[in-house]
């Protein structure tokens, strides 16, 4: 299992792996927003938490189709399916590798980009915490979507159509926690809900992912 995680991390960080592309995409979205809504500081700082969350979500989406597609093409997915570790564990590790290569860097980069959007200084902590808490759910849900569309040629667009509606609850609670944090309101409820979604998704979705993979490999 460790070996698989190691391999996936290596593949992601070496050339052509797409590591960093997600971050650059995150940066570009954040830079484009002021062009769209105008440079007024008040407006930007008001919408900054939402922009950061939506941009992080899109950046996470960008690298999803790599999770299984390449392994499916060269047959290593079939090998993994017959390997001694259960396919559910493979699903967890794939999601973990995706989270380590996109979710964690995004959460770390978010405050830096928050400066560009005049994010309220008190919100920096909340942005990092909610992203760290919420991005595992994004990775696990995305892994499920990737498994669902792995057999489909040019399934990238379909993948986003399927996965984005599944991201709604995570996005709502993540952005709401930051918004409440900035306004000085109680953030315990949205944070707990966000953590609950992540915990539930991590615990249950790998089973669906593995089932879907088996169907695809049959």
């Amino acid at each position: 299992m460790i070996a698989l995680l190691h391999r996936d991390l290596l593949l992601a960080t070496r050339a052509g792996g797409g590591f960093g592309l997600g971050l650059v995409f995150f940066l570009i979205v954040v830079v484009l927003v002021p062009f769209g809504v105008g440079p007024e500081t008040a407006i930007l700082s008001r919408i900054a938490p939402g922009i950061l969350w939506v941009a992080a979500l899109l950046a996470a989406l960008l690298s999803l189709d790599r999770i299984f597609a390449l392994d499916h093409e060269d047959g290593s997915l079939s090998l993994l399916a017959t390997a001694p570790i259960p396919l559910e564990a493979v699903a967890v590790i794939k999601a973990a590798a995706h989270w380590l290569t996109t979710g964690v860097p995004l959460a770390i980069a978010a405050p830096v980009l928050g400066v560009l959007l005049h994010l309220d200084p008190s919100a920096f902590g909340f942005v990092v915490v909610t992203l760290l808490l919420g991005t595992p759910a994004l990775s696990v849900i995305g892994t499920f979507g990737a498994a669902l569309t792995v057999g489909i040629r040019r399934g990238g667009l379909l993948l986003s159509l399927i996965v984005l509606p599944l991201y709604v609850p995570t996005l709502i609670f993540g952005a709401e926690a930051v918004r409440r944090g900035v306004d000085g309101q109680d953030t315990a409820t949205p944070l707990l809900m966000l953590g609950g979604i992540t915990a539930g998704a991590v615990a249950l979705l790998p089973f669906a992912t593995a089932a879907v993979l088996r169907m695809n490999l049959r």
Partner: protein, 244 residues
């Protein structure tokens, strides 16, 4: 005499048999109920005090919204039956219900927008109910797109069934998450079995007819579409056999 299990009716041949007899009655019943409900509702009920005649859109809006949700639940049940018992008719029924359900969702959204403009002063608001219906609409689109994208019918049935189950959980979560996110403009439920007082009786009775009409119409359309799917499946099998 043998006792027939209910699953016997799901055998494609038997299914084609009994649905052939039921279908005209379902369509006829839907036509009668809708005609009675809508004409009664539109022309023989008084205008409401504050809403004026716009209240009458309830005869389309409420039944369509009801069926939009129930269609998804029906797809969920059919998907479960497919995964557990591998009845092909069940998977095809789920596939057949999706376009009907998405149409109901659109009717509910559109009639709501038409009513919202004079009453709330806006076609659209990010109200929890409106938002969750929009999310339901997206789920329908994703489900149908996945069916359309996979060639192998059995694999498509498998994968869409899992998506339907996972999607149901997330749709439900979104439904309550949006409550948390924004307080609504939308009024409470118009009809509940456990409430003493629902909509005033004058509006209530024609509404029941309209709902019955929508239920029957949904039933008839799903049967018709399932029959079409079965025939398509048979035709494909024939073509494959002749081609060899």
């Amino acid at each position: 005499m043998t006792i027939m299990s209910m699953w016997e009716y799901a055998n494609p041949k038997r299914f084609m048999g009994w649905t052939g007899h039921v279908l005209p009655w379902a369509f006829g019943g839907a036509a009668v109920c809708l005609t009675v409900g809508l004409i009664w509702g539109f022309f023989f009920t008084p205008d409401e005090m504050r809403q004026g005649s716009t209240v009458k859109i309830i005869y389309l809006h409420v039944p369509a919204a009801l069926m939009a949700i129930n269609a998804w639940i029906m797809m969920l049940v059919a998907s479960l039956i497919w995964l557990v018992r591998r009845h092909h008719v069940s998977a095809l029924a789920a596939k057949a219900a999706a376009p009907v359900g998405v149409t109901m969702t659109l009717i509910a959204l559109a009639t709501g927008a038409i009513w919202g403009q004079p009453m709330w002063g806006t076609y659209w608001a990010w109200d929890p109910r409106l938002t969750s219906f929009m999310i339901l609409f997206l789920f329908y689109l994703g489900y149908m797109a996945l069916w359309a994208a996979i060639d192998d019918p059995d694999m498509a049935a498998d994968l869409t069934s899992v998506l339907c189950m996972v999607g149901s959980v997330f749709a439900l979560m979104s439904r309550y998450a949006v409550n948390f996110w924004n307080q609504g403009l939308h009024q409470g439920a118009s009809l509940s079995l456990d409430k003493e007082k629902n909509v005033a009786d004058v509006f209530y009775q024609p509404l029941l007819f309209a709902i019955a009409g929508f239920v029957l119409l949904f039933f008839a359309l799903v049967l018709l579409r399932t029959r079409t799917e079965i025939r398509t499946r048979r035709l494909r099998a024939l073509i494959r056999r002749e081609g060899q």
